[in-house]
Point group: C2
Chain length 152, copies 2
């Protein structure tokens, strides 16, 4: 596994995201790692990020984790498709075009969550990925994202 997070390759000008930017000091700083055929991130929720009923995550947290992990997966998959390392030029950064989240079951707050992203296809500047968010091996949410490569 590459020990540098995908987000830590983002240039400073694109590294302020509240969800995953290393330069956002009060943010979540999600770290996603490319594993050759998928991207994996882990997150231990803040107990304050409860949903309506204490003990389970609010929907916005789940969407946020899938969103940041999805754009990171898209970036890593796009570099991999060109057989390029994440620090090679030209730089590629992705934003979300659309994100669908299916909430399958309540997501517990008291355990580490695993988010997995897998490439579906690359079509020009659009990269489609599918996502899962799991707790203790159970898939609690699924996602599908179309990410769009920013034009430099």
């Amino acid at each position: 596994m590459n020990q540098t997070a995908i987000q830590d390759y983002y240039p400073d000008d694109y590294a302020h995201c509240h969800g995953c930017g290393r330069l956002n000091k009060t943010g979540t700083q999600l770290k996603s790692y490319w594993q050759g055929d998928c991207a994996i991130a882990h997150h231990k929720p803040n107990p304050a990020h409860t949903g309506g009923v204490p003990g389970f995550a609010y929907g916005g947290l789940i969407a946020s984790l899938l969103d940041c992990h999805g754009t990171a997966t898209a970036a890593a998959a796009a570099y991999a498709a060109e057989n390029r390392s994440l620090d090679s030029a030209p730089f590629m950064r992705f934003v979300t075009g659309s994100l669908t989240v299916d909430y399958l079951k309540p997501t517990p707050l008291d355990t580490e969550l695993e988010i997995k992203g897998t490439l579906v296809e690359i079509a020009g500047r659009k990269v489609t990925v599918v996502l899962t968010l799991s707790a203790n091996g159970d898939v609690c949410a699924k996602g599908k994202m179309v990410a769009i490569r920013l034009q430099q």
Copy 2:
């Protein structure tokens, strides 16, 4: 316009959501108001909630706002369909089954955002709503949610 927010009718046991619960002291406390045929909420973003590029909201914030506003819209529309006030029994509370967000353009952080939710249909325990998030009159994101009524 009803001056009590939809979320402020949620019983205490369901009022802890980080996005919209009045009992979550560190949360966003989004307030959605039913206007007879749609629900409206306003939110002034925290500057820390930037996306990768400073000045614009991160995708997770937008998804969170649409998520909490969507379940509130579903609740208010379900009560309205039964010609009941939001404080009447039996209590109805909704969770998200699925949420799709289309990010149409960057959402500025330096202005108040307006979130609008409109009923599409009620089918048993499932309520479908469509959502928009606007800044300065421009629709920056669209959403579609299937919300599911909790069984008591």
